[in-house]
C-alpha cells in the first residue's frame, strides 16, 4: 500500500524507532524534551540532535537536494528528424526530515538519494556540479515499465509495512527540429524551477513536465513546464505547494568541450 506525502509522525509514535529508509534502518528516538537521537544503523552515524521547544512531531518530505539534476537516460534517447518523442525517466529522491512546532518547522536532516553521485555539467574549468544519476527510460504508455528498476524500489517503510515511494518520474518530451536524427545522452535540470507532484491518476510522484527542443548537434532548448493536469504539488525545499513561478526556457549544451585533456590526447 502506498500513501501520500508528506508523512507526519508524532514524536511519541513508536513507529519512529523502526523506520526503514532506502532499505536501511532509521531509528529516531526522543531524548528528553528537546533532543532527538538519530541513528542510521551505521558505525559512527548516531547523532544527538536538538529540537525546538514544544516540538511535537516530525515531518518527512521527498526532495531533489540542493544541486541541479544531471540525468543520463539509460539507454540513450534517439529522436528522428522532425519527430517528437515522449518518455518518462526514473528519478531517485532524497528525504528531508523536519521538526514541527507551533511556530512552523525546523530542518533537521537531509538523507541523500542513493544511486546518485556528483557529476559536472560543463567544461572542467567552469562547469557546475550537479547530482547525477542513470535514469531508467520508459514510454509513458508502458504502464509499469519502470517498476523492475532498482530506483523504483526506493522507499520509506513504516513498521506496519506502509511504504512511501522515494522515487519519481520525469515526463520528458523531446522534439527534434533539425534535419538529422539526434541522440540525447544527458539532460540538466535546475531544481529551482522543478516541482514535485502526486499524479492524479496513479498513486505516484512525478516532476514538472520537461520539454526539450533539439536545435542542432550540440544545442537544445529546455523548458521546465507545469506539473501534470490535476496533479497535487508537494511542498519541498521550503517552497509552498502549488507555487507557480515564471518559467523560462534555457539553452542546454549536450556536447560541450569537456576540456579534460583526453580530447587532445593527454
Amino acid at each position: 500500500m502506498e500513501t501520500r506525502w508528506p508523512l507526519q509522525l508524532s514524536l511519541d509514535d513508536g513507529a519512529l524507532e523502526a523506520l526503514h529508509v532506502y532499505d536501511k534502518p532509521l531509528h529516531l528516538k526522543r531524548r528528553g524534551a528537546q533532543a532527538l537521537v538519530i541513528d542510521t544503523g551505521e558505525e559512527l552515524s548516531t547523532r544527538h540532535c536538538a529540537l525546538p521547544a514544544s516540538c511535537n512531531a516530525l515531518r518527512f518530505l521527498p526532495n531533489f537536494g540542493e544541486r541541479a539534476l544531471l540525468a543520463f537516460p539509460t539507454p540513450q534517447l534517439l529522436c528522428p528528424a522532425g519527430l517528437t518523442m515522449q518518455v518518462v525517466l526514473g528519478l531517485p529522491l532524497g528525504l528531508r526530515i523536519e521538526a514541527l512546532h507551533p511556530g512552523g518547522s525546523v530542518h533537521l536532516l537531509d538523507l541523500p538519494a542513493p544511486r546518485t553521485s556528483p557529476g559536472l555539467y560543463g567544461p572542467v574549468d567552469s562547469g557546475q556540479i550537479c547530482t547525477s544519476f542513470r535514469a531508467p527510460v520508459c514510454a509513458p504508455d508502458a504502464g509499469q515499465g519502470l517498476d523492475e528498476h532498482p530506483i523504483c524500489a526506493l522507499d520509506l517503510r513504516l513498521p506496519d509495512e506502509t511504504h512511501y515511494a522515494l522515487w519519481a518520474t520525469i515526463p520528458l518530451t523531446v522534439t527534434n527540429t533539425t534535419p538529422e536524427p539526434r541522440e540525447v545522452s544527458k539532460i540538466m535540470l535546475p531544481t529551482a524551477s522543478l516541482g514535485l507532484y502526486r499524479r492524479p491518476d496513479r498513486d505516484r510522484l512525478c516532476t514538472s513536465q520537461v520539454q526539450m527542443r533539439l536545435l542542432g548537434p550540440n544545442e537544445a532548448e529546455v523548458l521546465v513546464d507545469n506539473g501534470p493536469e490535476g496533479g497535487e504539488a508537494i511542498a519541498h525545499s521550503g517552497r509552498k505547494p502549488n507555487a507557480h513561478e515564471t518559467r523560462r526556457a534555457y539553452t542546454f549544451l549536450h556536447a560541450y568541450r569537456a576540456k579534460t585533456g583526453l580530447e587532445h590526447g593527454f
Binding site: L70, F72, S117, P118, G119, L120, Y121, V124, D125, G127, I129, S132, F133, K186, A258, T260, G261, L262
Partner: protein
C-alpha cells in the same frame, strides 16, 4: 625642571611658537585614524557592494589608506608652514635618492601591483610557490604571506613571487585523480577495464561526468600498466583518491587479479643443469661451465678489469 622647559619654550618662540607643531602632530594622529577608518569603509564597500575578491578589497583598502594618510601628512606640513611647492620640487631629487636606497622595496611594490593585475591567486587560495605549499593569508604591497599545512608562516617577497612558478589548487572546482595499476600480462584487459569503470561509477565521491576511464598505458617491466583516471570535487580530492585506490584494490582482489611483483626470469644454459648452478651459487663459487658465451659488453668489462674470459 621648570627653568629648562621655559628655556626651551623661549628658544622655540613661546607657546605661540609651539602651536603649529602641536597642530601638525594633532593632524597626523587624527589623520591616521581617519585614514584607517576611510580604508576600512573602502574595503567594506568594495567587498560587499561590488562583490570583489578579498584580494582586491585588501589592495583597495591599502591604496585608500596610504592615499588618505599622505594627504593628512601634507596638511600637517602645511600647518607647520612648510612650502609645499618647494617640497614638490625637492620630491624629484628625493625620489631618485630614495629609488637607489629602497630599490628592493620599490621593486617589491611594483611586483605587488603586477601581481594584482595578473591575479594568479587570491586570499584563502591554496597555492604552491616553488616548493612552498600552503594557503595565502595576506597579499601586501611588499610581500605575500602563506600559511603552510604544517602551520608555519612563510613570507615571500613579491619580487620573488613574480619570478616563481605558481600552482593554484583552488581556482577550479574539480580535479583529476590518476592511479597507476599494474596487472599480470595474462589478464583479460578489456574485461578488467569494464569492471573497474563500473566500480568507479559506484563511488560517491567520484564524478559521473567527466566519466572515469581506465586506460591501458604500456607494457611494464613486470606486467601491463593501466592508468585509472577519475574526477572529483576539489575539496574531496584526497578522500576520493584514497577511496578510489581502496576500491580498485578490493575489486582486483575480488576478481582474483594479483598485482605482479618485480621478478627476473633466469634462463639456464644447456650445458649446466639447474641443481649444479644452485649448488655453486650456495657455495659462493662463481658459476663456470654454464655460460656458453658472453655478450660483447661483458667481455669488454672483463678485459679492462684484468679478468680474462673463461
Amino acid at each position: 625642571m621648570n627653568e629648562t622647559i621655559n628655556r626651551w619654550l623661549t628658544r622655540l618662540g613661546g607657546w605661540e611658537g609651539m602651536e603649529p607643531y602641536i597642530l601638525g602632530v594633532f593632524w597626523v594622529i587624527v589623520g591616521y585614524f581617519i585614514a584607517k577608518f576611510f580604508a576600512r569603509g573602502v574595503e567594506r564597500v568594495v567587498r560587499l557592494r561590488h562583490g570583489a575578491s578579498p584580494h582586491s578589497a585588501v589592495i583597495a583598502s591599502k591604496t585608500a589608506f596610504y592615499g588618505a594618510f599622505m594627504l593628512v601628512v601634507l596638511i600637517a606640513l602645511s600647518a607647520l608652514g612648510v612650502q609645499l611647492s618647494g617640497l614638490l620640487a625637492a620630491a624629484g631629487i628625493f625620489t631618485v635618492a630614495l629609488g637607489f636606497a629602497a630599490q628592493t622595496s620599490v621593486s617589491n611594490i611594483i611586483s605587488g601591483f603586477f601581481l594584482f593585475m595578473d591575479r594568479p591567486f587570491s586570499i584563502d587560495d591554496t597555492v604552491k610557490i616553488d616548493t612552498t605549499l600552503g594557503t595565502v593569508i595576506s597579499i601586501d604591497l611588499l610581500s605575500t604571506r602563506i600559511r603552510t599545512f604544517d602551520n608555519l608562516m612563510v613570507r615571500i617577497p613579491n619580487e620573488v613571487l613574480l619570478k616563481s612558478t605558481i600552482i593554484n589548487y583552488t581556482l577550479y572546482g574539480v580535479r583529476r585523480i590518476e592511479v597507476p595499476v599494474r596487472v599480470p600480462f595474462d589478464c583479460e584487459l578489456q574485461v578488467l577495464q569494464r569492471k573497474l569503470t563500473h566500480t568507479m561509477h559506484a563511488l560517491p565521491t567520484i564524478l559521473d561526468e567527466p566519466a572515469p576511464i581506465v586506460l591501458i598505458d604500456r607494457f611494464g617491466e613486470n606486467g601491463m600498466e593501466l592508468l585509472v583516471r577519475a574526477w572529483s570535487e576539489r575539496q574531496n580530492y584526497v578522500s576520493a583518491k584514497s577511496e578510489l585506490t581502496g576500491a580498485i584494490h578490493a575489486r582486483l582482489r575480488e576478481l582474483g587479479v594479483d598485482v605482479p611483483l618485480p621478478q627476473r626470469v633466469l634462463h639456464l644454459g644447456e650445458t649446466m643443469d639447474g641443481s649444479t648452478l644452485v649448488s655453486q651459487l650456495r657455495e659462493g663459487v662463481a658459476p663456470t661451465g654454464g655460460r656458453t658465451r658472453r655478450t660483447a659488453r661483458e667481455d669488454t668489462v672483463a678485459t679492462t678489469s684484468g679478468d680474462s674470459p673463461a
